[in-house]
Amino acid sequence: MPHLTVRIWRGADEGEYQSFSVPMRENQTVLDVVSEVQRSQDQSLSYRFACRVGVCGSCAMMVNGKPRWTCRTHIRSLKSGVVTIAPLRNMPRIKDLVTDMSGFIDKWGKAGNVFESERDRRDAPVAVDPSSPRRKAADAAIECINCGVCHAACDVVSWNDSYLGPAALNRAWSLVNDERHSRKKETMAAAMGDGGCGNCHSQGNCMAACPIGLSPTRSIAGLKKMSLMSLLGGSDV
């Protein structure tokens, strides 16, 4: 049976790649390969996954230099006999392929991403028109599962520690367009403040990398426009 060479990052911020040889199979994802190494060659290898089918977003890693969901990346599609697997970029490393995502999650909070409603369960639900431009804008951004792939792909995140990043700002965009959210002004203020949308250079790496084809670049462009309009006094945020 032909074999595949996998180089896997071992250690934390300090560390090195360790090579393993894994049998090549007809159908095999990058996550399958990491699991095979962990089960049959080195049980001390640490990595994260949960659903294995592209739902949870916890298996994201750098595969041959690209941030990807490893459970949805077929070895065959990489067209390479050597596969290099490293922990997600732009996050501190804990051990092997596991990163500390707390900074990434904190940025979600800093971008004003806490939904609040003035209504309670006794009130009638807000009637949301699915065809309104606002709702369509929110819908286009809402499927994010917080995997961190776009955050790892963004150079501005790596250059500027305080930049909130594509995922957090994409979420802020869906909130400021949500009719039910009662703190739109606060969300907008956070999303356009220090570290906010004004830092994005529209490089588009985030949208090229997002495994579900979301477009944080578009959401951030929307935030930029809205922030300028609100400065000029013309926004209905």
Binding site: G65, A140, A208, L214, S215, T217, R218, K225
Partner: protein, 116 residues
């Protein structure tokens, strides 16, 4: 550029940044020469003779191309941030190639003496 940066929008960002920096370095000299013209016509004439040298001409050609590129890529960013996006992938990547071609065409016109 590693894997995820192979993307026309990233290339546009780099070209826009680098052409901007090059222009920032050039502009002080440009104003210096203009200032010379105001103060002393003979010095300006001397300078203009100097600019006829092939290497200087080549430098001017580079500047014309960089300036056009910078302007066009800046317009692209303005459109991306102000105009509605036609769809999720509306990075206007094709415009990056178009901007490069127009900049080269303007450079060619410059060399041809039309706008020298």
């Amino acid at each position: 550029m590693t894997g995820f940066r192979i993307n026309l929008s990233y290339l546009a960002f780099m070209l826009h940044r680098c052409s901007g920096l090059a222009l920032v370095c050039f502009l002080p000299f440009h104003f210096l020469v203009l200032g010379l013209g105001l103060e002393d016509a003979a010095a300006l004439d001397e300078m203009l003779v100097f600019t006829q040298q092939p290497l200087v001409k080549f430098g001017e050609w580079v500047l014309v191309v960089l300036f056009s590129l910078h302007l066009l890529l800046g317009l692209r960013v303005l459109v991306m941030e102000w105009a509605p996006w036609p769809h999720q992938g509306g990075l206007r990547s094709g415009w990056v190639i178009l901007a490069g071609l127009i900049a080269l065409a303007l450079g060619w016109l410059f060399l041809d003496g039309v706008i020298s």
